[in-house]
């Protein structure tokens, strides 16, 4: 071993390195480039939306319900509790609820009065999935049941979703709503595992793929919800915010979203008002009544920050192994053979 040549050392090094290095470099080869489809977005102008004053249910909410009715959950009659807990999430007896997000209501309009600079504003805020650019909900789904389409819509596959609700836990707005008694878990071991299926807005992706607008956009009588390319919507929102001396929401939140709100009132005040409203709800702890936390970070910020640091130990390990091998080959250290 002691008389190993430099050439032999390098040869073996390359062979071992290729095998070991595949772990780090192989993934790069399988990365797929996205096709040239422009991401879409929406711009919701809160200076225009009046919550469809005079209507019992705002038009965007009705349109969303009509469009998606056929996809609403149809749970089995006897829904087991989430063993060992003595509870379950069953909204099937509240199908008519339109003032919050539920598995049967994927868009809701929050109405609030806020005072700002001596003036009282009546705000009507259509709420649904923000369709984030790097959505933690889709990224961390343990069964890859949530995906992002090339158009940028975040969609849930009800065929594979087990209803663990992790997507809701990592969503800063807690948007996805869970319905028990439905989905693949009912065919497995529903008494001990699984929670149902998560439901939320999918930006009417079937319509968008056909070149149509989402149902809520088309139904808005005031044109308060605009739809187009994400870049175009962001520009439109920024211009509008400048024009009214207002504020923009959704461009930075959760790492950036595809839904941009413009308001004459700072969103910190809106968030605070919504939180107060939530406390007055029949069940304040229940999800489906989102706030508007300003510049809220993404669940992925911390792990992504750690990802680069993770490379330090493996690289150090490669050098340490190489050094030990060199010493062993030179006969200075006994190998394990």
């Amino acid at each position: 071993m002691a008389d190993i040549s430099r050439r032999e050392f390098l040869k073996r090094g390359v062979l071992s390195g290729v095998t070991a290095g595949f772990v780090l470099s192989g993934a790069e080869k399988v990365a797929e480039a996205s096709e040239n489809v422009e991401p879409v977005g929406t711009f919701i102008d809160l200076t225009v939306c009046d919550g469809c004053k005079g209507q019992e249910v705002p038009s965007c909410v009705s349109a969303c319900r009509t469009k998606n009715e056929s996809r609403f959950p149809v749970p089995e009659k006897d829904i087991p509790n989430y063993w060992p807990q003595k509870k379950k999430e069953d909204w099937s007896d509240k199908k008519g609820l339109t003032t919050r997000l539920t598995p049967y209501n994927w868009t809701a309009v929050q109405k609030t009065k806020i005072e700002h600079e001596g003036r009282e504003y009546q705000l009507n805020i259509p709420r649904r999935c923000m369709h984030c650019v790097n959505p933690p909900c889709a990224k961390v789904c343990p069964f890859s049941s949530q995906t992002v389409t090339k158009e940028g819509a975040v969609v849930i596959n009800p065929e594979t979703c087990l209803g663990g609700a992790k997507c809701r836990d990592v969503c800063p707005w807690g948007i996805p709503a869970r319905q028990a008694g439905v989905g693949i878990y009912m065919k497995m071991a529903p008494d001990i595992a699984g929670g149902g299926v998560m439901y939320k807005c999918d930006l009417c992706i079937d319509r968008v793929k056909k070149g149509q607008k989402p149902a809520c956009v088309e139904a808005c009588p005031k044109g308060a919800i605009k739809f187009g390319s994400r870049d175009e919507m962001l520009k439109m929102a920024q211009n509008r915010a400048r024009q009214i001396g207002g504020y923009i929401y959704g461009d930075k939140e959760n790492g950036g979203t595809s839904t941009f709100y413009v308001s004459p009132v700072p969103f910190e005040k809106i968030d605070s008002a919504l939180k107060k409203q939530k406390q007055k709800q029949p069940n304040p702890e229940a999800p489906g009544y989102p706030g508007m936390p300003v510049k809220v970070g993404s669940f992925l910020d911390t792990p992504n920050g750690l990802a680069t640091g993770m490379l330090v130990a493996p690289i150090a390990s490669v050098f340490a192994a190489g050094y030990k091998v060199y010493k062993t080959m030179k006969g200075e250290v006994d190998s394990d053979k």
Binding site: R12, G13, L15, S16, G17, T19, A20, V23, L24, G26, A27, V30, A31, E32, S34, Y82, P84, Q85, V133, N134, K139, V140, P142, F143, S144, T147, V148, G164, A165, K166, D169, V170, G195, G255, F299, L300, T302, P303, N304, L306, A307, M310, L311, V312, A313, P314, A316, S317, V318, A320, A321, G322, K324, V325, T328, M329, D334, S335, D336, K337
Partner: protein, 239 residues
């Protein structure tokens, strides 16, 4: 009944090999626990209500631990592959006839018969090694893709991500099965003589002579043991 041993020990695993083994062991246990936490399980089954485990349902904490343990596992795996690859130490890789030999060893243990002579590693150890390496490699490769897909700068196809997730989960369960089989092997008394080497690095020379006679002869050939001293050691099992 206890085994009678020779009191003469021979090194089976160097310090670095034991360090890599225990790094892999500890990191895999952390990865399994935190990985199950990502499923999600601990809130549902109220594990987070057990004293000291409140953190278990915190996805940020479990994911950070998962990343750190993955870094340790990848480091140990790279060291293992480079070190033994360079030195051409392939005696843990499966050889032709290992399946049959493995069957004969287990049959001999169960029927109190004569085992075929073994090298440093038993045939079933070589098979188990290949099984565990394959599944660790799969979890590492898919795990790296899963880390990259969380970064905003990386874009993967949904099909690739789906299969990555499935393979990551399936390989994890294979590893759990492999660990159970690995530990289950020590139910057989014959295998327990190998246990000390994972802690002290050494095994009883009499045991080596008795069961790993091919390795024993190799050690004599390499002059790592004195032939006269080797003649004196003996190993009488409970059989």
């Amino acid at each position: 009944m206890t085994n009678k041993v020779s009191n003469v020990k021979i090194e089976r695993h160097s310090g670095i090999v034991r360090f890599i083994h225990w790094t892999v062991t500890i990191s895999i246990f952390i990865l399994i626990f935190t990985g199950i936490g990502q499923m999600p399980m601990y809130k549902r089954y109220m594990v987070d209500q057990i004293m000291g485990l409140t953190w278990s349902s915190n996805y940020t904490v479990t994911l950070m631990l998962h990343y750190l343990a993955a870094s340790a596992l990848i480091s140990a795996s790279l060291y293992h592959v480079i070190f033994h690859g360079f030195l051409k130490e392939f005696n843990l890789l499966p050889q032709r006839g290992d399946l049959k030999e493995s069957y004969l060893i287990i049959k001999a243990i169960l029927t109190k018969g004569q085992e075929p002579p073994s090298h440093k590693y038993l045939a079933e150890q070589r098979l188990a090694y290949a099984f565990i390496v394959l599944n660790i490699a799969l979890t590492i490769i898919t795990g790296v893709i899963k880390v990259l897909k969380n970064l905003p700068s990386w874009e993967f196809g949904n099909g690739l991500l789906y299969w990555t997730t499935m393979v990551h989960n399936a390989a994890t369960f294979m590893i759990i099965f492999g660990i159970a089989a690995h530990l289950g092997a020590f139910i057989m008394k014959e295998n327990r003589n190998l246990l000390p080497s994972m802690f002290t690095g050494k095994v009883d020379l009499g045991y080596v002579k008795h069961r790993h006679s091919l390795w024993f002869n190799e050690l004599i050939k390499q002059k790592k043991i004195n032939p006269q001293a080797a003649d004196k050691v003996s190993f009488s099992s409970y059989r």
